[in-house]
Symmetry: D2
């Protein structure tokens, strides 16, 4: 399991990004992936790099469909082989 978080900043589309973030949540629900919305980024949990990349590409394509002409996406990936991890296990570990 891979845990990652990502944030997308649309350029040239006003200062508010809330409607774009909501659309990304829709994409995540359609894909059926485990995710946790945060104030600065969205955390996701995927079985493979392919699944993770699918999320990033579909989320970018969604914003383009909504008319965004430039998107900066930041992703952080935690890829761990010595231990099974999940959003839940990572939240619990530091409690």
């Amino acid at each position: 399991m891979i845990v990652a978080d990502f944030a997308m900043v649309p350029l040239g589309s006003g200062t508010s990004a809330a409607k774009y973030i909501r659309s990304v949540y829709e994409v995540l629900r359609e894909i059926g992936i485990e995710f946790l919305p945060g104030p600065m980024s969205t955390s996701i949990e995927t079985r493979s790099f392919e699944e993770l990349f699918d999320v990033i590409e579909k989320s970018n394509k969604k914003l383009v469909e909504m008319g965004v002409q430039r998107i900066v996406t930041s992703i952080n990936i935690d890829y761990r082989l010595d231990k099974e991890i999940s959003i839940e296990s990572k939240l619990r570990a530091s409690r």
Copy 2:
């Protein structure tokens, strides 16, 4: 109000970072700042850049006290002048 998130990765200190994250939470509690633990990063809410930077420096110094010799810190800052923001308002906006 500035909302930011940050993550610290210690190098040369094993694969587990949980005890370091818990120590950073202690630093945040001592400072008395509003924060939200996440699976990949910790979100904070500060009144100024100074307060934000104080958090980052004290968190780094804490890990050094614990014996860490190299730390990579990633920070994302949302600095917004057209609207008051907080961890709570940002979570709410995209619901």
Copy 3:
């Protein structure tokens, strides 16, 4: 064209990451992608999200082959539809 940069931090493998970075450059040369080494991250230029993701996955797998048990990868992607971009054009634009 997509321009991105990425940095990989290995955990549990000492404080030096130089040999891992050099191995990632080898991966990039084998793939035949345009890239620019930087002090904090490596910039790449790809024709598609697929090509970009291939780079990230192969770079992670390379470090795993070298024995790394946990890797934190940070990626920033500039996806722009209103203009052709490249590493060179982006460096030039802000000169």
Copy 4:
């Protein structure tokens, strides 16, 4: 010595960020800090956290002066105690 890189994304100010990046370079020259422009971010070298934070705050304030209402800043900091580092030493190490 601390080596870091940072990137600033202005929201609500069109899709082009080149003029803002050039202004940030001016800020860096005025401060008199060592820096290296990259396609995705700008690397800097500072003697302390204070100096690093001064760069980030002044760069944000500069964009605000230019009329930007919202800025997302991403920073990566390499803080290393076991070894002297610089932009140059980090570029050399992975060659």
